[in-house]
């Protein structure tokens, strides 16, 4: 049943599926892989030396190198202008590219048109599986690194990933380039297996086959594409062995199996492979502030220095003035409460401070960068970390992994060293895990380290967001309604935690509806109403201010 060609095609199918896995892992759907493969196949067949002259294996190696490069180059050239597209739009644009390549190959002279170009058969099952092993090795080793986690974070929540300091555009382009390179490998191997480069092999059907293989196998575990390819390649063989030959039964059963896998195995066939997460033992470790040479912690501004300066900051949405002419300074070690009725513009204001929203006028200087003009990840890199009003955790990652992503800016990149199996990579990864565990311990959530974020209770999710924000070793932390939905006891614990952050020297900007909590812990309170600052000062003074009372309770008639 497992003939030589079946074995080869399992490997080829898996390699092609890996090129989909590379982008799906980062939550992007590209259908251009067949186009990258075809660019790679034509280029390498055209440029590689003749196997009859230099020998089979050297010719194939050169062709593979050329193909990988051409595939990656095609992906990046396509990726640059389409990076602003999301979801289905990206899928259709890349599909359009692949079709254009196919039609071009069909009609150009030098490609041999529909006949294609014939090449010798060089690829043996062993060669195909060796290449597959190399590709799988890349995805295996890159998964649990800073780079791999950043891609997963982008898949789960792009906005939150940016706020954690991840350069979303560059990572997406990286994933795209990887997909192109792997598709290039596939294209070359395919050509030297079937002895032909022809446009028909790189059409829409091929793209769909690759996508289906990747999804069936599973797109979150690196063995997924191999499992998927084995499954889909063997089904027709099994059917043939069972004597099911009627033309329509085979595609029907294949469709049915595909449907069953997608509906009943959400993680694909490889979904049952458990994610191994070891929580490091940190009982002997010092606190967060202790010195950790493996981490790239930053120099914090001395206590009392101005870290945020807002000068006449305004934001209009159409005719609505969400924020009007706000002047404000926040200093290191200060816990500033921002309160105001619903719709007062609090969240818009902190979105401008963290760089997510560009101001209509005025300027926000945050830790030396101009927020709104610099991209979000640059603002985060300057030392701004935040939580969100509506929790934006990476839902399918564990609590510990969420915090690891939060530590993107302080954790050292280990991808290259992990590929080379250097011991220092292991040391750094261990240090990163310990750092994340310490952040979890700080908010009292170490026990829940291995729980998936979307399985946590609401209060725990808020605390996890704080741990994730702390992991970036920020100079300014922005907390957007962290106590919402918490009971009295939980809110009291949270108040102590927030106070201790400011006592450690952080600048804390706290948005909160619970006025009692704000009065209890804040150094200074700013009240916003209809986008304007109506009062500012010590908590007790502000609470007594008649304009504040009016904003909250209305005037006496």
């Amino acid at each position: 049943m497992l003939t030589e060609s079946t074995v080869t095609f399992i490997a080829l199918g898996a390699i092609f599926a890996f090129s989909f896995y590379a982008v799906l892992y980062a939550g992007q759907l590209s259908l251009g892989q067949a186009g990258f493969a075809s660019v790679a196949a034509y280029t390498s067949v055209l440029l590689a030396p003749d196997p009859a002259v230099v020998g089979d294996l050297p010719a194939l190696l050169v062709a593979l190198v050329i193909g990988t490069t051409a595939g990656a180059a095609a992906a990046i050239v396509l990726g640059l202008p389409t990076m602003h597209l999301r979801g289905v739009f990206l899928a259709i644009a890349t599909l359009g590219f692949a079709e254009a390549v196919r039609i071009f190959a069909l009609n150009a002279e030098w490609t041999g048109g529909a006949q294609g170009m014939s090449v010798p058969k060089i690829v043996t099952p062993a060669i195909a599986w060796i290449v597959l092993a190399v590709v799988a090795y890349w995805f295996w080793r890159s998964g649990p690194t800073r780079y791999g986690r950043a891609l997963e974070a982008i898949r789960e929540d792009e906005l939150a990933a940016g706020a954690m300091g991840i350069d979303v555009g560059r990572h997406r382009l990286g994933a795209f380039g990887t997909a192109g390179a792997v598709a290039g490998l596939y294209g070359v191997l395919w050509a030297y297996t079937v002895r032909l480069v022809s446009p028909a092999d790189f059409g829409f059907t091929a793209a769909i086959d690759g996508l289906v293989t990747a999804m069936v196998g599973g797109t979150t575990v690196f063995v997924g594409p191999v499992v998927g390819s084995a499954f889909l390649t063997v089904i027709p063989e099994v059917q043939r062995a069972l004597g099911v030959e009627a033309g329509w039964i085979r595609p029907f059963v294949a469709g049915l199996l595909l449907l069953v896998v997608i509906l009943f195995l959400p993680g694909g066939l490889a979904g049952w492979v458990p994610r191994r997460i070891r929580v490091p033992d940190i009982s002997g470790d010092g606190d967060l502030d202790a010195d950790h040479p493996e981490l790239r912690t930053r120099e914090h501004a001395p206590r009392g220095d101005v870290v945020v300066r807002l000068a006449g900051l305004s934001k209009d949405y159409g005719g609505v003035h969400a924020v009007r002419g706000v002047h404000l300074e926040i200093r290191s070690g200060e816990l500033l409460g921002l309160i105001g009725p619903n719709g007062a513009g609090k969240t818009t204001l902190v979105n401008m401070v963290s760089g997510l929203v560009a101001p209509s006028s005025g300027e926000a200087t945050v830790l030396g960068v101009t927020a709104g003009r610099a991209p979000v990840h640059r603002v985060a890199a300057a030392g701004v970390s935040r939580t969100f009003q509506h929790s934006k955790l990476f839902g399918r990652l564990s609590a510990l992994e969420n915090v690891l992503v939060g530590g993107h800016l302080v954790i050292r990149p280990t991808l290259v060293r992990r590929l080379l199996w250097l011991p220092s990579a292991r040391r750094d990864e261990r240090a990163a895990l310990a750092h994340a565990a310490r952040c979890l311990r700080r908010v009292g959530m170490l026990d829940a380290a291995t729980t998936r974020a979307n399985a946590l209770s609401y209060g725990d999710q808020r605390r996890l967001e704080i741990a994730r924000a702390l992991a970036a070793d920020p100079s300014l932390i922005v907390l957007d309604e962290p106590a919402a939905g918490m009971n009295q006891v939980e809110a009291g614990e949270l108040a102590r935690l927030i106070r201790s952050l400011a006592d450690d020297g952080l600048a804390v900007l706290l948005i909160e509806h619970n006025v009692g909590l704000v009065r209890q812990i804040c150094d200074r309170v700013v009240v916003l109403d209809f986008g304007e600052v109506i009062a500012s000062g010590a908590p007790t003074d502000v609470a007594a201010d008649p304009r504040v009372v009016e904003a909250y309770l209305g005037t006496e008639a």
């Binding site: 599909l95 359009g96 079709e99 009627a246 329509w248 029907f252």
Partner: protein
């Protein structure tokens, strides 16, 4: 003139097909890749109704629409409803609808075999008109009239009727719609049924226009349909109509001036230009990103 009219005939079928695509995408935010399979299935069924059932070709159209609607309900039930609430519903829906499409095509192969099917020679009236020096058959007039009537009717339905209000509410926010008493499941199923009925009529008309039906006809129009809804603006019904007509005319002229080999490139050149310059499409509104 003849070319322009030919472009409009084929374009109106493209438009009808794309409107079905756009309806599901606009309201449910899902791409239903089983739509082209319904298109192909209805072409074969239409031919069988005329050949075996002895129906006149115009009477086959409503029958095909009913069959299409049923197929749409099945697709929704089997490929989309079970995925509700999954975080990867977007991608998984693509795959499950591809799976259903594969099964549907396999069933067609079982019933009709792999050969091309045709209408009987005397199925269409031979009446011809002279329009501004161009030859037009009665059939072509019927095609354009049916397509335009269905697209306009659908636009009216979505904009004015109670069902349309429910659809737009679901498009805006399914949870809020449910709270306000909209039966989201029923609206979803109805949307699929209408979408598939339109795709089915488009398939039957397409088969009449070229007088043949093949198993692969769905995948040939699939990419064009995708290109049209992107060009028109994802989920925009007038956009799909204009995009379809535009593509039909552009193709016909491309064949005349560039040669038939480059015809299929037109759709993708158009697609790419629009995506880069105006990602929301010609008629699409920009949706604000929420923090």
């Amino acid at each position: 003139m003849q070319q322009l009219l030919n472009g409009i005939f084929i374009g109106s079928i493209y438009a009808l097909f794309a409107v079905g695509f756009a309806l599901v995408f606009g309201i449910l935010d899902r791409l239903n890749l089983a739509h082209p399979a319904v298109f192909a299935a209805s072409a074969f069924i239409g031919i069988e109704l005329v050949t075996v059932g002895g129906l006149p070709f115009w009477a086959a159209l409503p029958a095909v629409a009913v069959v299409g609607a049923l197929l749409g309900l099945i697709v929704e039930r089997v490929a989309f409803r079970p995925l509700k609430g999954r975080p990867d519903a977007h991608f998984a829906g693509l795959i499950s609808s591809i799976a259903v499409a594969g099964m549907l095509i396999a069933l067609l192969q079982w019933r009709y075999g792999a050969e091309t099917r045709r209408f009987p020679a005397d199925a269409f009236p031979a009446t011809r008109f002279d329009v501004l020096g161009a030859q037009v058959t009665l059939l072509q007039v019927v095609i354009v009239a049916v397509c335009l009537a269905l697209v306009v009717g659908l636009t009216w339905l979505v904009a004015r009727s109670r069902l349309g209000r429910g659809m737009r509410a679901v498009a805006e926010n399914p949870t809020a719609a449910r709270v306000l008493g909209v039966n989201v499941d029923r609206v979803t199923a109805t949307t699929f049924a209408i979408s598939a009925a339109l795709g089915a009529v488009a398939g039957a008309l397409f088969a009449m226009n070229v007088n043949s039906a093949q198993l692969t006809m769905g995948s040939a129009i699939e990419l064009k349909g995708l290109a049209i809804i992107v060009v028109g603006g994802m989920g925009s019904l007038p956009g799909a109509l204009v995009g379809g007509l535009l593509l039909g005319v552009a193709e016909v002229f491309a064949v005349q001036y560039l040669g038939s080999a480059w015809r299929d490139l037109i759709a993708f050149a158009l697609l790419f230009g629009i995506l880069l310059l105006r990602p929301q499409g010609l008629f699409g509104g920009r949706r604000a990103r929420q923090v």
